[in-house]
């Protein structure tokens, strides 16, 4: 038991310190979501709907698309500060979804802001699947 926990911890720490590929990140979220709900499979379609969904937790940024535009391969703009945002889609911006700590930070911040709560592993998996697979 103790050994297993340590092994998992070591793997997690190593993963956190390492660069990853978007596919590896997606697989991590898929595995986490599958532990919570057996048989879970990421869906780019659900991810696309999530991306466009107007949660309404924030009046200024009701959806992800408010800042990232309807097309995640395009650059966006922060709706409050007008700061340019590089494309979210890895195909258009190779640095995206390669740093697990950074990805988690932005999911935490932006989900709290836009969705009004933290996102689940399943939502994150769908989201990355959408960004990787297009539509």
């Amino acid at each position: 038991m103790k050994h297993a926990t340590l092994a998992i911890l070591a793997t997690l720490c190593a993963a956190a310190a390492q660069a990853a590929t978007p596919a590896e990140l997606l697989d991590g979220y898929r595995a986490e979501a599958a532990r919570q709900s057996a048989g879970f499979q990421p869906s780019a379609q659900r991810g696309a709907e999530f991306f466009q969904h107007r949660f309404g937790a924030s009046a200024k940024m009701p959806s992800c698309a408010s800042c990232h535009t309807d097309n995640p391969a395009q650059p966006g703009r922060h709706v409050v500060t007008d700061k340019a945002i590089k494309p979210l889609a890895p195909a258009a911006n190779a640095g995206r979804f390669t740093d697990p700590a950074k990805v988690e930070k932005w999911f935490r911040r932006n989900c709290t802001e836009v969705v009004g709560r933290e996102c689940s592993a399943a939502e994150k998996a769908d989201f990355v699947a959408f960004l990787l697979g297009g539509r």
Binding site: K60, H78, V79, V80, T81, D82, K83, R109, T112, E113
Partner: protein, 163 residues
């Protein structure tokens, strides 16, 4: 007649130099977190534009950051605050970043900032391309590089700034 005028000019000269902040380059001791955490949502604001106490107030309320939750872990928060305080402007020159009650100070609310921008008509501030007075690059085209020269200003409707 001539002497008093010269005298006046001589007296005003150092004042005008102090007030002309054409160059507000990012200090070299900026921690990497300053760019990563602050400049991902807005311009990497020059620390010189707020006084030390005002920066401390901004950094003490990151969970309520002008309508956004910009919380950081304590180590990162501290590194950024130390950098801002180290390079902060003088409260005597700037004045305080007076903001609405319950809000952190704003660098767009200092007497210095308002004086520097008092000729800007309201229609420019409310222009769709501007969105916020803190959107320096909306007019200061080279603000990202820390350059705020008058000849680099392009107003949101495309006109040049003439003094």
């Amino acid at each position: 007649m001539k002497t008093p005028r010269l005298l006046l000019a001589a007296m005003l000269l150092p004042l005008s130099f102090a007030a002309h902040a054409d160059k507000l380059r990012l200090p070299a001791d900026a921690p990497p977190a300053f760019q990563a955490e602050c400049a991902s949502c807005h311009l990497a604001f020059p620390p010189q534009l707020l006084a030390a106490d005002d920066w401390r107030r901004v950094m003490a309320s990151l969970d309520k950051h002008y309508g956004d939750n910009a919380s950081l872990d304590e180590k990162t928060r501290r590194a950024i605050e130390d950098f801002l305080v180290r390079n902060a402007g003088s409260v005597r020159k700037l004045g305080a970043g007076k903001a609405a009650t319950g809000e952190p100070p704003r660098l767009t609310a200092t007497a210095w900032f308002r004086r520097k921008h008092h000729e800007v008509p309201p229609t420019d501030w409310t222009h769709a391309k501007v969105k916020s007075p803190a959107n320096c690059v909306a007019c200061h085209t080279r603000a990202e590089e820390g350059s705020y020269r008058e000849r680099e200003i392009v107003m949101p409707d495309g006109r040049r700034w003439e003094d």
